[in-house]
Amino acid sequence: MGILEVKNVGKRFGGLKALDNVNLNVMENTVHAIIGPNGAGKSTLLNCLIGKLIPDTGSVMFDGQSVLGRKPHQINQMGISRVFQTPEIFGDLTVFENVMIPIFAKRDGAFRMHAIEQVTNEQDIIEAAEKMLIDVKMIDKRNEHAASLSRGDKRRLEMAMCLSQQPKLLLLDEPTAGMARADTNNTIDLLKEIKASRPITMCIIEHDMHVVFSLAERITVLAQGTPLVEDTPDNIKGHPKVKEAYLGEAAH
Amino acid sequence: MESIILQILTGLDKGSAYALIALGLTLIFGTLGVVNFAHGALFMIGAFCAVTLHRLLQFSHVVIDETQTDFLGNPRKIEVPYIYDWLGEPLGRAVIDWSVPLAILFAVPVMILIGVIMERGLIKHFYKRSHADQILVTFGLAIVLQEIIKAFYGANPIPMGAPSAFVGSFDFGVLVGFDVNSVIYPYWRLVYFGFSMVIIAAVFAFLQFTTFGMVVRAGMADRETVGLLGINIDKRFTIVFGIAAAVAGLAGVMYTPILSPNYNMGMDFLVLSFVVVVVGGMGSLPGAVLAGFLLGILQSFASMSVVVETIPGINQVVIYLVAMIILLVRPRGLMGRKGVMED
């Protein structure tokens, strides 16, 4: 039984078949990568998982419950967190507040009217946020405005925000897109640390083969909206079908 | 049947004004990405261009007429406009009589100048600021422009007449076989409608058939790309703003015989024109024009006594009601493109 089960998912945009009969099974506590050439339907699939798009056919089950038709915040409350291609953080708020907000969301749910309590009195939240910032080595930047951080720190902060909710599944949408090699390697190390330190399932959508092969335990190759193969990284590397799909833009 | 036609006709002139203002607003929003709350003030300034010209033409000097005497037996002093001296009395009289249409010639350069100054001096610095800031600064500007006009012309409405040739009404009913006086329509409103159609056609033709217009249209579709092509956008932005200001100004000039200009008139039209823009679809020129006429006609239908008796107050709120429903059901408006400010 996988924690995330995608069955026969199909999605059309007008005449274009973006996804066609996609089946995917992400096992608990693994790192699962979804790769594929441009236009293979990776982003569409991801958007179907997090409630931004609703597929025309098929089902998406997370932890035994359907995610279809739920709003993004409801899906997050089920235990799915998402890291974006460009870090989505609360730029006007301080780093510390950025981490506190997801912890509040985890503790109190989608809405709670605590207008009378003071933030400074929420000891459990403050402690959890401090611990999280220490974990990602950003505690010295706690009072900085998030918008003034470097790109690498923004990515780090976004990961911290996601992890602070102790998600069952972390979805990562091209987490190293547009990064320099050094930053990419830092991100890989960070993800490895995260994986090693806690039970977590990760699903990575990635273009960069280096990232994929450093992290993934299983890989699904998507091409033209359908999964081509699903296997371990070692088997994928030499797979003829994969080479065929990537012909022309092989070996990043 | 007669009353329906009458309502459609009555709605046309208001609709024309909405359409013209909304057209300029959309042009500015679509190309420059700026929400211009001072656009109503431009309409108002246009109206005051007509007032100004009318007053200039009436500049007079005193002539003592020996042939007439006043009640004290002294020779009567008569004010003779200078223009009589220059053009002779009959022609001078005609020019003053026609001062509203003539004001078009006067208003175009003035409005373009005001538009250019506004864009260069103020709006330009707000391209990168938030929409809230744009709304606020143009709102402030609108207050300033209004107050300047008030300082010069006072707070009371200033009645302006249409050329005497267009005074009176046109019996539209007879033309299509109804009873006499069943559908009558003031000539000037007909003129206004025709005038606005000409302006709208001219703006569309300009955008459709000139290279300049092509760039503007491309800019409305995708601003960044056009910027990347190395085309000097800034200069074109200024011109677009000037054109939009001129369109609003002309709408104001010709509207003076329908509604006596007053320093506050811009604000009333602005609110409605924004509603029109939203209903038509932010950034869609045909949408703005269509919605302008539709809402104008709708408003005049809602003012029919039958309707008002059935639903009291509907004439006051119909436009807002429609706008709300459209915004909630179809946020991009009647003809809006997907993704324009939808967030």
Binding site: P72, I101, F104 | F139, K150
Partner: protein, 397 residues
């Protein structure tokens, strides 16, 4: 104190002290001196400072924190006013039920408008709220005349039932708003040398509510709820993907600010039992936006300062006419005097709106953070000049 941090407590205490002492502080010039026209310490004006201060504090909770720019908040002010007058007419001349019902009615009204308007954001939200407010205004003038008394405005009359204290009107004059017997117009005049100060009951009633409103605003700003509202402004997408539903947060902020507006409306009629539709007009909504911006949106004290400054200028500038100007500049040679008077003339008296508009533009252009930001900039400059940081006052927030 009261669950506030030290810095907030100091700010709060300063505000309380200022409000209590305002009748003295705002009358710095002896009453028969030439400068007396700049005094602001008379009840009518001070009441307006506080009432519009409350209005702006509330508006700031919505606009300053969430960034949703409402152009329709005057509708709630108007609704609160009407509700207040009706309570005077039906129930009692005691201001307390009137004010409470004003808040309640404005609250219900803002739930309805907010629920619909908040389905859109950005400029669409602004236009939706504008449309609602204009609709309320138009209806108040026309169809709702039985409730609003149309153009005349809603007033007290001798025939009102006033279930609880109807007898009080026996002497044939209109009854007066009171707080358990203390009439709102009751004043204590104190003359001290050349100075005279007026301590007015109505003013102090407003003061109590304003201090309460300010306290609530501080608590909201520092609460997790306030943090969520700032998160809405910053990044709604991230908020959703963090498991938070932005809409109830924005709706709550909208309703709170609507209730503040209702409170302001209720206090207005408590001071002067009269409500007219023009209170709902969108220029009124624009005025509160202006106050918030001028003072500094998103700051605690900003809206209060903005409201005070605008109401002060409105009052003082609109009183200055050519005679006053000539008096001021009479020391100059006549020619120069006339030139200067002519130059200043458009900006004062009836033209004070021009000054207002210019000031507003200047703030948006040069000082988007308003007076508070200006103060901070000056404080920073001073700090750089003076080596000793202890002498520098912390910028008020």
């Amino acid at each position: 104190m009261l669950g506030l941090t030290r810095k907030d407590t100091i700010l709060f205490l300063i505000v309380i002290a200022m409000v209590i002492c305002a009748p003295v502080l705002l009358n710095p010039f002896p009453s028969n001196s030439a400068l007396a026209q700049f005094n602001a310490g008379y009840p009518d004006l001070m009441q307006r400072f506080l009432i519009f201060g409350i209005f702006a504090i509330g508006f700031n909770i919505l606009f300053g924190l969430t960034g949703y720019l409402s152009f329709g908040h005057a509708a709630f002010l108007g609704a609160g006013s009407y509700a207040g007058v009706w309570m005077f007419k039906l129930l009692s001349m005691n201001v307390l039920p009137a004010i409470l019902v004003s808040i309640l009615v404005a609250g219900v009204f803002s739930v309805l408008i907010g629920f619909v308007s908040l389905r859109r954001s950005g400029i669409y939200f602004s236009i939706l709220t504008l449309a609602f407010a204009q609709m309320s205004y138009a209806l108040a003038y026309s169809v709702l005349t039985p409730i609003t008394n149309g153009e005349t405005g809603l007033q007290l009359s001798l025939n009102d039932p006033r279930i609880l204290d109807g007898v009080a009107a026996a002497d044939g004059s209109l009854p007066v708003a009171n707080f358990f017997g203390v009439e709102m117009r009751d004043s204590l005049d104190v003359a001290l040398g050349g100075w005279s100060f007026t301590f007015n009951a109505g003013y102090y009633l407003c003061a109590v509510f304003m201090i309460l409103a300010f306290y609530i605003a501080i608590r909201i700003f520092r609460s997790p709820f306030g943090m969520m509202l700032r998160a809405v402004k910053s990044n709604q997408q991230r908020m959703s993907y963090t498991g938070l539903n932005p809409r109830p947060y924005t709706l709550a902020a909208f309703v709170i600010s609507g209730m503040f507006a209702g409170l302001a409306g209720g206090l207005m009629v408590a001071m002067d039992p009269l409500a007219g539709a023009e209170r709902m007009q969108w220029t009124r909504s624009g005025e509160v936006v202006l106050m918030t911006i001028l003072g500094g949106m998103g700051t605690l004290i900003g809206p209060v300062l903005g409201a005070g400054l605008i109401k002060y200028l409105e009052n003082i500038l609109s009183k200055i006419n050519d005679n006053v100007l000539h008096q001021w500049f009479s020391f100059m040679p006549d020619g120069l005097e006339n030139v200067i008077v002519t130059l200043i003339h458009p900006f004062v008296g009836k033209g004070w709106h021009l000054t207002l508009g210019l000031m507003f533009m200047a703030v948006v252009i040069f000082l988007p953070g308003g007076l508070v930001q200006g103060g901070q900039k000056i404080a920073a400059l001073l700090r750089r000049k003076k080596a000793d940081p202890n002498t520098v006052k912390q910028p008020a927030e």
